[in-house]
């Protein structure tokens, strides 16, 4: 009753924001990122490439967080599903001659099926062992991609047709931003629904969740399927953007990169990964290009950062938000961060 009343009171903008599960602050940040490629310091092609990189990381971190943050099972083979989507999309486009955007959508299917299988098989395992299982799964997928040379050309890499004809990066940036927003909205609405509550319950205490009548089997499988399907979707975009696909993308190393971004952003928030993804991708690319005579220094910094964050501030950026912004009495801040989510 009260809810319906509140609905009537909302104006159009508020209703859109509510539909998208965004706070006004989040929407503002999103708009600012969207106009970044048009303003001077960022309108160079290489910086737009970095921005696209950041957006890919952010989007990957969102769907990674669905399993890692909510049901507390880190999908340690996440990038293998990502790569699987990329390979499917690329192969469909090359061999069947379908347009690239159809390929991207078809690329969702195999990761979703395999995500379903992983979820179903790893059900018997708990905690760390389930994580190991997803890790093995990812390694096995990468092994197949390396060895099935007749199909994937193995370590040589697959040449993939690009999504668009242009050489400019700007259209790609807007496409990936749309994918980011779609991924976020779908997952945020999922998390806001009763199903999200069930995810959280399973993640916090499986036994208690079972006692309250939640069937963990069903929710774990749904969670994995959705998360992996979105990973595959993004993988398709990745393949058609970079135009070259090697099995390296499925390596655990890449999963670790996404994992660091997701955890520095903060677990169980979805948007934390996006917040951390952009600056982190920029910083990493900057370090890599500046210290090119010291290979691996960016990953060294990565590791150190992960250790320090986990020891001293395990909540990540979301923890900052929850301790300083949410309890704040300031009315402007309250207006800016108000969401139902």
């Amino acid at each position: 009753m009260e809810n319906a009343y509140a609905k009537r009171e909302m104006n159009l903008i508020e209703r859109i924001l509510d539909f998208a599960c965004l706070s006004p602050l989040g929407a503002l940040a999103l708009i600012m990122v969207c106009i970044l490629p048009l303003v001077p310091p960022f309108n160079k092609e290489y910086l737009i490439r970095w921005l696209i990189m950041g957006a890919i990381w952010g989007t990957a971190a969102i769907s990674f967080d669905l399993s890692g943050g909510y049901i507390n099972i880190v999908n340690f083979g996440y990038m293998a599903f990502f790569g699987l989507g990329g390979y499917t999309s690329a192969l469909v486009t090359i061999h069947l001659g379908l347009p690239a955007w159809v390929g991207i959508f078809l690329g969702v299917i195999p990761p979703a099926v395999l995500g379903f299988l992983t979820g179903a098989l790893s059900l018997r395992l708990r905690g760390m062992f389930a994580i190991c299982f997803t890790w093995f799964f990812g390694l096995a997928l990468m092994g197949v991609a390396f060895k099935w040379v007749s199909l994937t050309r193995g370590p040589l890499g697959l040449r993939v047709p690009r999504l668009l004809e242009t050489t400019s990066n700007v259209p790609y940036f807007y496409i990936v931003m749309i994918m980011l927003v779609v991924t976020y909205v779908v997952l945020a609405r999922l998390v806001r629904s009763p199903m999200g509550l069930a995810f959280r319950a399973i993640g916090q205490n499986m036994e208690a969740a079972k006692t309250s009548g939640i069937n963990p089997t069903r929710f774990r499988i749904i969670n994995f399927t959705v998360s992996c399907a979105l990973a595959g979707w993004l993988g398709g975009f990745y393949a058609h953007y970079y135009a070259i696909l090697t099995p390296e993308i499925m390596h655990t190393q890449k999963t670790v990169e996404i994992l660091v971004v997701a955890y520095i952003g903060g677990r169980a928030s979805l948007w934390g990964g996006v917040l951390a993804g952009f600056p982190f991708a920029m910083a990493m690319e900057f370090i890599r290009s500046t210290f090119s005579e010291l290979p691996g220094i960016n990953l060294l910094i990565y590791g150190t950062f992960l250790i320090l964050i986990m020891i001293f501030y395990p909540g990540g950026a979301v923890q900052l938000y929850r301790t300083y912004l949410v309890p704040s009495k300031n009315r402007i801040i309250q207006k800016l961060i108000r969401t139902r989510y």
Binding site: V144, V256, G303, L306
Partner: protein, 351 residues
Amino acid sequence: MTDAGQLQLIEESFYARAVDWAKSAAGIAIITTILLAVVGSIDKGPYIIVNTLVTGGMWALMAVGLALVLGVMNLSNFAHGEYFMLGTLVAYYIITPMHESLFENYNPVLMLFAPVIAIFSAFFIVGFIGAVTDKLVFVPLRKRSKEQWMMNCFLVTIGLGQLLINGHQLIFGTVFKGVVGYWDVPSLSLAGVRISVDRMFAFCLAVVVIILFGLFMKYSRTGRAVRAVSQDEPGALMVGISVPRIHTFTLAVSCALAGLAGASLLFMFPSYPAVGVGPLYNSWFVIIVVGFGNVGGAIAGGFIIALIQVLTRVYLGEGWETVIPMLMLSAVLIFKPTGIFGAKVRGIWER
């Protein structure tokens, strides 16, 4: 009842127990492994058994170390392979100057003992590094995180792995740093099979170290304290065991075992930044397949994974050795979710 009757009864019960064991998952797995090894070596030559024994012993050592920290500290160590890498590195930088100086002025006794010195110094140095890691990383982490400990640990060890791999790459480069063989002597001939001395030594070392480790855990005062901490931490604290010291000691021993494995397999795994990934995979595989429970299971599991990988490499070629174990693991999980050796103990690490 006469003595003979009693004896017959004992024999019968022994026979019944053997049949029961053979019908259990563990029995089936071990018997299948042995059969596979025999069939494989008849088909492709006995080096399959030799390779399985050499690497299997070392994977067992690593899995034991991993299971130890998992049980005592609730620490799922994803940087365990990097201690293997450190072991290879230490052994390489000790053995190479020694070999060079021995090349100039030959000394047969030193020649014999140089590899042993290298392997054992790797054991102690990597153990020391493990202790330092505990003091620097896990002690502050333990102070700060309570209920999220498992997850934070997992992430911290991933970071640690990154740090060690890329530190190695920055300081020592990506070149392969290996030795052809520790001992420059002709290989032994055993029942028509030529086995290099390095391999023999690695296998014997694994057996000896596992036995010593088992005895140490069972009879020594420290070993008993370690087991006490793994069973009940507050209880151990109450009877006056210094739990932090036991934690440091446990991680040091676990890392030292990994370092020992790395050092004694230097001739098969030359040192390069990512050398530890394979061993890490193997030791986690052993832990999952076997199910956490006993050291015996870990030893059997070490040989099982070694055999699977040797056979995969021989019959399918390099690169498939992550795919086939994965398929087998899936099969095991479908039919025997607690692991082949049936974990009776369910601890905090499964939550």
